[in-house]
């Protein structure tokens, strides 16, 4: 398959692994930001093929995992309302709230639908004027433009029965939180290629400068990751810092200006709570005042939620790269995809799910 097979060849992998072995002179810790990258690493076995000196730790880039519990509970509350058609990407449906998940609400009679695009939710609202259609707008900068477009279109169409439950998060503030922590051990980053497709990578340059770390914008195929790792390790060994672009077939420094404009028009930056991590200043998007009528949190009464987070789940430590999923005492015991204590065990981009699904720590 064009643009896929080229990045999955065994010979190419061997070449990069040899090059990595040659370049590394001492133990190194590199973090991949995105959950999609985490899954590629574990699924293709890269973590087991790397030399012992190279440790990859998994970052906070799973949108489902960092969505705060109170937001999930709000989603559940909305989904239970008889007039609401609650729509979401499939990934979100199995994430545990304080009491249950969206699939359970569906089983109990809630109208919960899995969509592939937020624009389908707009279509649903247009064809079901008697119902309230709510879309669960989660994700990083990657999914935000499509969600912004959905809100924009809803306004263009004059829809009065469409709203979004918005919990967007941004990558650079999370990286800053990791780098700024006193006990940070991450020496270099693989930045999330798809986020940079939208936002470009100029906003990572001050971070690399301030914390003197190499950041390599990296794709999602096995060879992308091996090449990104190689570039990061070469920079580390040479004592260089700064931003480099491995994913040049998709990412430009300035990103996608059109998508950025759409984001700018619909969203504004706000403080945001990250599940398992806490509130990070200026780390999320919320709808601008001009689009307040499409904000599900304003449209419906979703206040007064008391959340119950698992005391045994160490998702926060895992998403900051301090612990591996298989170092969690509950991993595979009290916490499994059928009985998750936290979101990373059920999300398709969660590190715990990758470790469990592909048999790490078994």
């Amino acid at each position: 398959m064009k643009y896929v097979d080229e990045y999955r060849s065994e010979e190419g992998a061997r070449r990069f692994l040899d090059a990595i072995r040659r370049v590394v002179s001492r133990p190194r810790v590199v973090m991949e930001i995105c959950g999609g990258q985490t899954h590629t690493i574990v699924k293709s076995g890269i973590d087991r093929m790397l030399p012992d000196d190279v440790t990859v730790v998994h970052g906070p880039g799973c949108p489902v995992c960092v969505t705060p519990l109170e937001m999930i509970d709000r989603a559940l509350l909305l989904a239970r309302r008889p007039e609401v058609i609650f729509t979401s990407f499939g990934d979100m449906l199995r994430v545990p709230g304080s009491q249950e998940d969206l699939l359970s609400v569906k089983a109990a009679g809630g109208d919960v639908r899995m969509l592939y695009s937020p624009l389908d939710a707009v279509k649903l609202a247009a064809t079901h004027p008697e119902r309230e259609v709510v879309f669960f707008a989660v994700g990083f900068e990657t999914t935000a433009p499509a969600n912004a477009m959905a809100v924009w279109q809803a306004r263009e169409l004059g829809l009065r029965n469409f709203s979004v439950l918005c919990s967007h998060v941004l990558v650079p503030p999370a990286m800053q939180a990791i780098l700024g922590a006193a006990d940070n051990c991450v020496e270099g980053f693989l930045a999330a290629g798809h986020v940079c497709t939208v936002m470009g990578f100029h906003e990572y340059e001050p971070l690399a400068e301030r914390y003197r770390v190499p950041i390599v914008v990296t794709g999602f195929e096995p060879l992308d990751l091996l090449q990104g790792l190689h570039m990061t390790l070469v920079a580390l060994e040479q004592g260089r810092f700064g931003v480099e672009n491995q994913y040049s077939r998709a990412v430009r420094r300035e990103g996608n200006p059109q998508a950025q404009r759409q984001l700018e028009q619909v969203f504004e930056v706000c403080d945001r709570a990250w599940r398992g991590i806490g509130t990070i200043p200026q780390s999320g998007y919320r709808l601008r005042e001009a689009f307040a009528q499409f904000d599900a949190e304003r449209r419906f009464d979703v206040g007064g939620i008391a959340t119950k987070e698992s005391a045994e789940c160490i998702a926060g430590e895992i998403m900051r790269g301090r612990k591996r999923p298989d170092q969690c005492p509950q991993f595979g015991r009290e916490c499994t995809p059928e009985r998750p204590l936290g979101a990373p065990m059920v999300s398709n981009e969660g590190a715990c799910n990758a470790y469990h699904r592909y048999g790490r720590g078994a």
Partner: protein
């Protein structure tokens, strides 16, 4: 269920259900769609609820069909229900699928199908023309398979209480004299084969479901396999150890069931698993793993390694086996587990999913 360490686990349960645990998701108070997804929730439902109540020696192997000995005659008996939506899909419809499904369950027991029953549950308001078309297709499939439909039943439910039409088929077959195919006969050293490309059916269905508008000619692989399996039995005799049709849950779930039931490990090689480019592309876009996607005309055969070449030749001589391939082998290592060598040469466990795959956010 008995709990070995009552005190400790009760203490833990209390801790979890009190302030911390989101929900013991394995003990769902209501049936979820995932209980029918062919993954571990389905398995648990069958083992903990149905097997517990109905336990008997013919049921216990939990094979595709039961083996019954009646006055010295070896019979296979199987049943399957079909609730597919849409009723007519690219490459087939619920009528032909209902014939193929039960014929294949019998074929996987090493049997020659003798007769089928058909039970229709019709929804009030279903266009008579649709029903006529479906029964015509069903009759055509039964004639082509050479298996008569000898008895049936019809029920009609209120409008809104069904999805147009549900069909149940049951079948009896005569186990071929030299056949002894049972999952537990898989033994280390055996070769694992498949008769063609995987994931066609599931992707064809998804391509026409609401929200997805793929412009491709993806067709379901729905077909009757008893001719092909009879040829294998004839060629390999008792050297043919296991037959399995990887329907819901896909190749991954079928192989895991065999590994678990036989107490052996199975190693497969990603590069050797046949997969159409268009299907692979669709799976890439949706973030689905084709190993877990349903097939309706595929058969996994596990044979004595000395007969592997002959089995492959036999499969390839069949119209439904032209693209047959050796995809792996049975091993001593990691009993109960399936391990796959990835395209780039890394290893990963291929686990059973809890329910159906959910497409990812980005």
């Amino acid at each position: 269920m008995s709990r070995p360490d009552q005190d400790e686990s009760e203490g833990k349960a209390e801790r979890l259900s009190g302030a911390t645990c989101p929900l013991p998701l394995a003990d769902y108070p209501k049936v979820l769609l995932a209980h029918g997804g062919g993954g571990s929730l389905t398995q648990r439902l069958i083992e903990d609820l149905f097997l517990e109540q109905f336990r008997n020696p013919a049921l216990e192997p939990l094979h595709d069909g039961a083996r019954l000995e009646i006055d010295g005659a070896q019979l296979a008996f199987s049943t399957d229900s079909f609730v597919v939506r849409p009723l007519i899909f690219p490459g087939g419809d619920i009528g032909s699928l209902a014939v193929h499904g039960t014929v294949n369950d019998l074929a996987m027991c090493g049997a020659r199908p003798l007769a089928l029953s058909a039970g229709f549950i019709l929804e009030e308001g279903l266009p008579m023309e649709t029903l006529r078309e479906l029964t015509r297709s069903m009759a055509r499939a039964a004639r082509a398979a050479g298996v008569p439909l000898v008895t049936g039943d019809t029920k009609v439910v209120d409008r809104g209480k069904g999805d147009g039409v549900y069909i149940n088929t049951s079948g009896v077959g005569a186990i071929l004299p030299s056949a002894d195919v049972r999952p537990e006969r898989a033994r280390p050293g055996d070769t694992v084969l498949i008769n063609g490309p995987i994931a066609d059916h599931g992707v064809a269905i998804m391509s026409v479901r609401e929200g997805l508008e793929f412009e491709t000619d993806l067709l379901s692989d729905s077909a009757a396999l008893h001719g092909l399996t009879a040829a294998l039995v004839q060629r390999a005799g008792e050297g043919l150890h296991v037959l399995r049709d990887p329907t819901r849950g896909g190749v991954a779930s079928a192989l895991n069931e065999v590994a678990g039931q036989a107490g052996v490990g199975i190693r497969i090689d990603e590069v050797s698993i046949p997969l159409r480019e268009a299907v692979r592309g669709a799976c890439e876009i949706l973030g689905l793993d084709p190993l877990y996607v349903a097939n309706e005309g595929k058969c996994i055969a596990i044979v004595d390694p000395r007969l592997a070449d002959g089995a492959l030749e036999t499969l390839r001589a069949q119209p439904l086996g032209r693209d047959a391939a050796v995809i792996g082998k049975v091993v001593d290592d990691h009993p109960g587990r399936v391990v796959m060598r990835s395209r780039i040469g890394g290893d990963r466990v291929v686990d059973v999913l809890s329910g159906e795959q959910l497409p990812r956010i980005c």
